[in-house]
């Protein structure tokens, strides 16, 4: 397998806060790579660095053999790297279909408006929003808006899809549907890089998982190994002997 995304030593500092520090990893073609970590670990910042919303202070990002370290988000999309937002951002004044058409028009293939409409209808069918195509985007439920985020990104015909907490806020039925969707996306040949807090889901879906804590990468391994990694356990639950320490000091 070849690496689709090669991240080498990237960092981002906001004033005195090191949001992401010297993070490196590779994402293989056809892989689902999970990204987990406690709140504030720098997961979304890492996504923002990869798709060009922020520029990395150090290091380099190679996507599909092209250096995208200094590329802007719209350039990155044309190369085939699309993303969703953790806090959904539908284009509210437009219909569901128009939202997805934007994704297809300005995506990797830079489709004409007519072709983009056809692509958009296909993608809506795939994510299960076809019946809502002509509704205003603002009328969708949260689950619907999350699907819309995925649909817009898919319409760009990406090689790599970044999913930022697409399961957060969904009920168990909706989660199960979204998991099936993510699997089908991977099976169609699109690699996936996903941030997720729903542990059961990410453990099931991911081929490998990268763990961040306080901006640093503390683990990168298959799910089974990650859950047994002492550093990961400390990051999530604190030190196992913390109770003894607290008692001792009292």
């Amino acid at each position: 397998m070849t690496a689709l995304l090669e991240v080498q030593g990237i960092s981002k500092r906001f004033g005195g806060l090191l949001a992401v520090g010297d993070v490196s990893f590779n994402l293989m073609e056809g892989e689902i790579l999970g990204l987990i970590g406690p709140n504030g670990a720098g997961k979304t910042t890492l996504f923002n660095l990869v798709n060009g919303v922020y520029k990395s202070d150090t290091g380099s990002i190679i996507f599909s053999s092209k250096n995208i370290t200094r590329s802007s988000p719209d350039q990155v999309v044309h190369l085939g790297l699309a993303r969703t937002h953790q806090i959904v951002r539908p284009l509210n004044g437009m219909s569901v279909l128009e939202n997805v058409t934007v994704g297809a028009c300005f995506g990797r293939e830079y489709q004409s408006r007519r072709t983009a409409r056809i692509t958009a209808l296909e993608v809506l069918e795939r994510v299960g929003l076809a019946s809502r195509a002509n509704s205003p985007a603002s009328s969708l439920t949260l689950a619907g808006k999350k699907r819309l985020e995925v649909a817009r990104a898919l319409a760009a015909r990406p090689k790599l899809l970044l999913l930022d907490e697409v399961l957060a806020g969904l009920n168990p039925t909706e989660i199960a549907q979204m998991i099936d969707l993510v699997r089908s996306i991977r099976d169609s040949g699109v690699s996936v890089f996903m941030i997720e807090h729903v542990m059961q889901a990410i453990m099931n879906l991911s081929d490998r998982i990268v763990v961040l804590n306080l901006g640093r990468k503390i683990a990168e391994a298959p799910p089974r190994e990650v859950v047994q990694n002492p550093d990961v356990i400390v990051a999530y639950l604190g030190s196992p002997d913390i109770l003894d320490k607290l008692r001792g000091s009292a």
Partner: protein, 321 residues
Amino acid sequence: MILRRPLLWLILLLAALFAWLPLHGNNVSLREDLILVALAIILTSNLNLMIGYTGYVNFGHIVFYGLGGYVGVYLMTVRGWHLVPSAVTAGFAVSLMALLFGLGILRLRGAYFALATIGVLVAVQSFVSNFEPWGRSTGMYVSFESYAPLGGPRHALWTTYFLIVAVMALSLILSLGIKASKFGLGLFAIREDEDAAIVLGVNATIYKAIIYSVSAFLPAVAGTLMFFKNGTIDPSIAFEFMLSLEGIVMLMLGGQGTVAGSALGGGLYERLRSYLLTSPRLSEFHLVIAGALLLLVIRLAPGGLIGWLYRLVPRSREVIE
């Protein structure tokens, strides 16, 4: 296909009516009324490209009209050019200037952009007021010889009128064309959420600069035509801030973001304004009405008259764009 869109044929019908009505019976007074309506529609529909399509409020839109007038009148009187090439050159010159300004000020968003457009208006007006070749604050007169190539003043005024009507039709067709295009879709995405649009692949910086420049072209052409017709131009008339504000009132009244709304708002407001201005007891009162109208529209029908129509008859959306 643009030919299949009903509004295109309505626009052409409107232009034909504008051309035919005053000609029928040689009604000069009707012609003078309609030329102001046509001008209002030109300014409003081009302003709509910025406010309605892209979501950027341009308070200084009138600067394109005024500068276009200056460039055109200068080319005709000082350089001795014909009317049509002067007007087209003015259009290109002002568009180019808008492109350069746009790349600078369009990095600003929201209220800061709106403030910067007022700055552009004030700066251009001060510059022109002190620019010797353009006659400083006294402005320029259109020389009598300029009318000769068009068959004398009488004939020239009719020619100018038909050209203004043509520019009006072009403005509306341009809006219609952009609305259905991929470029237009990108603009609408920017209007709804600029950051989301960028992440979806829209090059917002370039798109905004292009639409700012495009929205300058036809108003500048109209500026040349109007000031040629008036026979004189000076900075206080060319860059009238109130007219810029009234353009926004017209757009909001008709329905921002829609082609039909910009025409309807421009037409209605201009007729109302002319009535109030010529009525001896109410002169200058039109600004009070404009303010009240804007408040009412924003409060009660944010989509303007066309938005209100959409709510009453949802299917009308497919015909009235």
